[in-house]
């Protein structure tokens, strides 16, 4: 009798606690999910200088492989809407950050290609989750301004 009562009580506690998984849509699986995607890439703005930037993936990272993207800085032509590439002052760095857990991923290499154009390589998100690509303009090691692109991995 005692055993049956204990089992019944346990079931009353345990059954309402069963998990109810809500799976993320399939298209947010292995590929990098795009936010604010346009035909020519992801767009953002550095808030202090008002510099526009466009991010275009060369190789999208996967769970096992690093990726790379191109960054172009400049100002958008008010008539055509296209980016007019311009030189940008300071150093450009890219940080991959997982805000929900408060940590980053492995370092991203950034190399200057030409006026206002950079390549970011070794782009790898260390675990699935909601990530940010933080594109930073620095001077003397200080972050002057930052544009953030949100991604679901």
């Amino acid at each position: 009798m005692f055993g049956k009562t204990l089992v019944l009580l346990s079931l009353l506690i345990v059954l309402p606690a069963c998990a109810e998984p809500r799976y993320a849509p399939a298209d947010s699986g292995d590929k990098v999910g795009r936010v604010d995607a346009t035909v020519d890439g992801l767009r953002a703005e550095l808030p202090v200088s008002g510099t526009d930037l466009v991010l275009v993936w060369e190789t999208e990272p996967t769970d096992e492989r690093e990726g790379s993207f191109l960054l172009k800085f400049g100002h958008r032509d008010p008539v055509s809407g296209e980016l007019v590439v311009e030189e940008i002052e300071g150093e450009i760095s890219v940080v991959l950050w997982m805000p929900s857990m408060g940590h980053g991923s492995s370092p991203v290499k950034v190399e200057r290609l030409s006026v206002g154009a950079y390549r970011a390589s070794d782009v790898f998100f260390v675990m699935p989750g909601d990530w940010e690509i933080r594109i930073q303009r620095r001077s003397g090691g200080r972050v002057l301004e930052q544009a953030t692109l949100a991604l679901r991995i």
């Binding site: 005692f2 055993g3 204990l6 346990s10 506690i13 345990v14 606690a17 069963c18 998990a19 109810e20 998984p21 809500r22 799976y23 993320a24 947010s28 699986g29 292995d30 769970d63 096992e64 940080v95 991959l96 950050w97 805000p99 929900s100 857990m101 408060g102 940590h103 980053g104 991923s105 492995s106 370092p107 991203v108 260390v126 675990m127 699935p128 989750g129 909601d130 933080r134 930073q136 090691g141 200080r142 972050v143 002057l144 301004e145 930052q146 679901r152």
Partner: protein
């Protein structure tokens, strides 16, 4: 009396296994304290836990099953000793190996120590009043945290990275062939500076807690048990160094999950026990911002009578 003694020893074995389940993010978490819940003078526990992360849960509650394999093995040594009759001290040290895609890293996890006091002793074997233990626990961040990790896939992350203190209570009760236990704990982690591969600054964690319920059925020298533990951690806030204004600063998301476990124990020569457990974090609770895994644990415990 001897049977009750054995049952309580088994309860501890079931609890001790919880310590090996690890946490959801990146190799470290708050461990259950090393406590003597029976009538022994001392105990030493060695456990081997093999875990596979199977599911990621986003901060908004969406689930995603893993498409790659990430595993860890934890060897844990725990010891506890009675002093001044109702007081006890304990300590535990995990050694963790994490593996993913052919890469692996190993080393120590977070060290923890505890002081316990038996505030509800079981001297008269009252049929209803439980045995109660209160404890204070200190977590020392000896394991590399995810913020300081440098290895591929951050596999060298084996701890939370924060000093922490906790207080909790463990209540146990045995009736004939049945036993039940519950544990409630609150803990606080403290801010620290970090300098990671991609950023630096100050991390501000907060409060956390655990609540466990468990029951077991005992016959001869064997106990079958089941337990459920809910875990919660406040978000970690980041204050980025070297930033102008609040660039890089941010608040994280709270983390919660539940761990269900079943176990089988065999008591050999009264003071030596062997336990095999299976724990699953995908079955219960409403997890948020967590990495869920399945774990098999093998545990051997030696106890010394008073």
């Amino acid at each position: 009396m001897r049977f009750a003694f054995s049952v309580l020893a088994f309860v501890w074995v079931a609890l001790g296994g919880r310590a090996a389940f690890g946490s959801t993010c990146c190799g470290g978490g708050f461990a259950a304290p090393a406590l003597i819940s029976g009538d022994e003078k001392a105990q030493l526990t060695a456990s081997l836990a093999a875990q596979e992360i199977t599911t990621d849960v986003y901060a908004d509650g969406d689930w995603r099953d893993r498409s790659f394999r990430e595993t860890s093995e934890t060897i844990k040594i725990e010891g506890a000793h009675i002093f001044r009759d109702r007081w006890q001290v304990g300590a535990s040290l995990p050694i963790i190996r994490r593996s993913r895609s052919g890469e692996e890293a190993s080393g120590t996890g977070d060290l923890s120590g505890s002081v316990g006091y038996e505030y509800l002793p079981e001297w008269d074997y009252n049929p209803w009043r439980p045995r109660g233990l209160g404890y204070l626990q200190l977590t020392i961040p000896t394991g590399t945290s995810v913020h300081d990790a440098r290895a591929p896939y951050q596999l060298d992350s084996r701890g939370r990275g924060f000093w922490g203190v906790g207080a909790g209570t463990l209540l146990t009760k045995a009736w004939r062939t049945w036993d039940v236990f519950t544990r409630l704990e609150a803990h606080r982690s403290f801010a620290k500076r970090f300098a990671g591969a991609t950023d630096s600054g100050i991390l501000r964690p907060g409060w956390g807690g655990q609540f466990s319920l468990g029951a077991g059925y005992n016959f001869a020298q064997v106990r079958w048990g089941a337990s459920l533990q809910w875990s919660y951690e406040d978000s970690v806030d980041v204050i980025s160094a070297g930033a102008v204004g609040d660039v890089g600063n941010g608040s994280g998301s709270l983390e919660r999950f539940a761990t269900a476990a079943i176990s089988g124990s065999y008591l050999w020569k009264d003071l030596l026990s062997l336990t095999v457990s299976y724990a699953d974090q995908t079955l219960f609770g409403h997890p948020l911002n967590a990495r869920l895994g399945q774990t098999v644990i093998l545990q051997v415990q030696k106890r010394w009578a008073r």
